[in-house]
Amino acid sequence: MYRLSKMRFGFPIGLFLMLFLDGSISQIFSVHLFSTPSVMISHLVVLWLVCGVLFEENMPMPLVKWAIAAGIVFDLYYTGIFGVYIFVFPLIVYVTRVTIKYISPNFLSGLLIYFIDITIVEALSFVASRVVHMTAMSGSAFLVNTLAPTLALNLAMYVVLYFPIRGVYNWLK
């Protein structure tokens, strides 16, 4: 039962911890991550949400609500442009939920799902930034300089953090 478990408080705390860690990682490793022209963005929030779906199993959690909350904080606090991540994060939860209907969730299939999710996050934020003229980057430059390094970083993080996060989720249940 979600209502009675530690998950009820543990999940949001973990979510916001990951959200703030994203910013702190970007700040601490800014020399390495933002070495121009290629840019790596850490998306630990997305990892936490995707893992929420993967380890949900027989305990449904209000993931979409928390995804919206994380999206609001991300938009207001980090970017200052409201209306991008508030829709992207719930979409990620939805996409992941649809995908695991077809593939049974395990370490490797999770890696593939996470690959798709990061691509969606980056592509949609790119489109949104192009629309409001936050960037003038061309599509091909986006693929090479942003999407590829970001995917590499986040898949590596997935591999490193999958088992620790699973441990945390099992403990919270």
């Binding site: 970007s26 601490i28 003229h133």
Partner: protein
């Protein structure tokens, strides 16, 4: 029934898209026009900023200790070099103080209360950085209550790094000079050439591939050479005069051959920011 559910999903998607675009347009418009964000956003950002410090302070502290260990290795050599520089600096500083004093007296003499070079500094620490490739933006721990106002220039190390783009009560966002978006406020700068001439212009963008600031549309006849210093000119608003931007790396003809384009090497390493200074002009 199947058809109905498909239509409903389509409607939801379209409504979401429209709402998303509307929200983005409104927030960009507010960001460009108003001096502060709406009160709810400010309040929310202040609370989130406080919560973020719980994570950011230990993380930044950890980073400090790690880097201090790695820096220990070449401390001895650096110390030797710095000792030499310090003795030179002391003399420059004394002279600087004398000149500043003289300048103040002269200003009093002609009843000039504040000129373009006068500013006071607010020191702030960088809490966190926006994890996004589209915005080179950091969040600092000083806001409106410390006297920060939107569009104020921000410095780090020896030079200009950006401008304040959003002000909350206890934290504010700083858009770095490396940000290339359309709404970025370009700084009015002046180049002092070796022959003693000054050339005024506006910074036009940032070239990510080489890490250089560009300055376009210069129609001057005076020769600008490599190594000429670029400083802010203090024209047109809140930026004081005399903030160091960088040195000229290359001067080329622009794409159409009518004007000159400059590439400027920034004075500060823009990747690594910990402590920044907000320059407040007296108005």
């Amino acid at each position: 029934m199947q058809k109905f559910s498909f239509n409903r999903r389509l409607v939801i998607i379209i409504v979401c898209l429209i709402v998303s675009f509307a929200l983005m347009t409104v927030s960009v418009a507010i960001r460009n026009k108003k001096s502060t964000p709406p009160l709810i956003q400010q309040f929310g950002n202040d609370i989130v900023g406080l919560a973020d410090r719980v994570v950011a302070l230990p993380a930044n502290g950890l980073r400090g200790s790690v880097s201090s260990i790695s820096e220990l290795l070449n401390t001895y050599q650096e110390n030797q070099q710095l000792k030499k520089q310090v003795s030179e600096l002391a003399q420059t500083k004394v002279r600087d103080q004398t000149l500043a004093k003289e300048n103040k007296q002269l200003k009093q003499e002609i009843k000039l209360n504040g000129s373009l070079t006068d500013y006071t500094a607010i020191t702030a620490a960088v809490i966190t950085r926006t994890p996004s490739s589209w915005q080179n933006q950091v969040i600092i721990n000083r806001g409106a209550s410390a006297g920060v106002v939107k569009n104020m220039p921000v410095m780090a190390g020896s030079g200009l790094v950006g401008r304040v783009s959003e002000v909350n009560k206890t934290n504010s966002k700083v858009e770095l000079i490396t940000d290339n978006n359309d709404s970025a406020n370009r700084f009015a700068v002046t180049v002092s050439t070796k022959s003693g001439k000054t050339v005024n212009g506006v910074l036009s963008g940032y070239k990510a591939a080489t890490g250089q600031i560009t300055m376009d549309n210069l129609t001057t006849k005076s020769k600008i050479s490599k190594g000429d210093k670029v400083i802010t000119s203090g024209l047109g608003g809140v930026t004081p005069k005399g903030l160091f931007v960088g040195t000229v790396a290359k001067s080329v003809g622009s794409d159409y051959g009518l004007s000159t384009k400059l590439y400027i090497t920034p004075a500060t390493d823009l990747g690594d920011l910990n402590i920044v200074t907000v320059a407040v002009t007296k108005q």
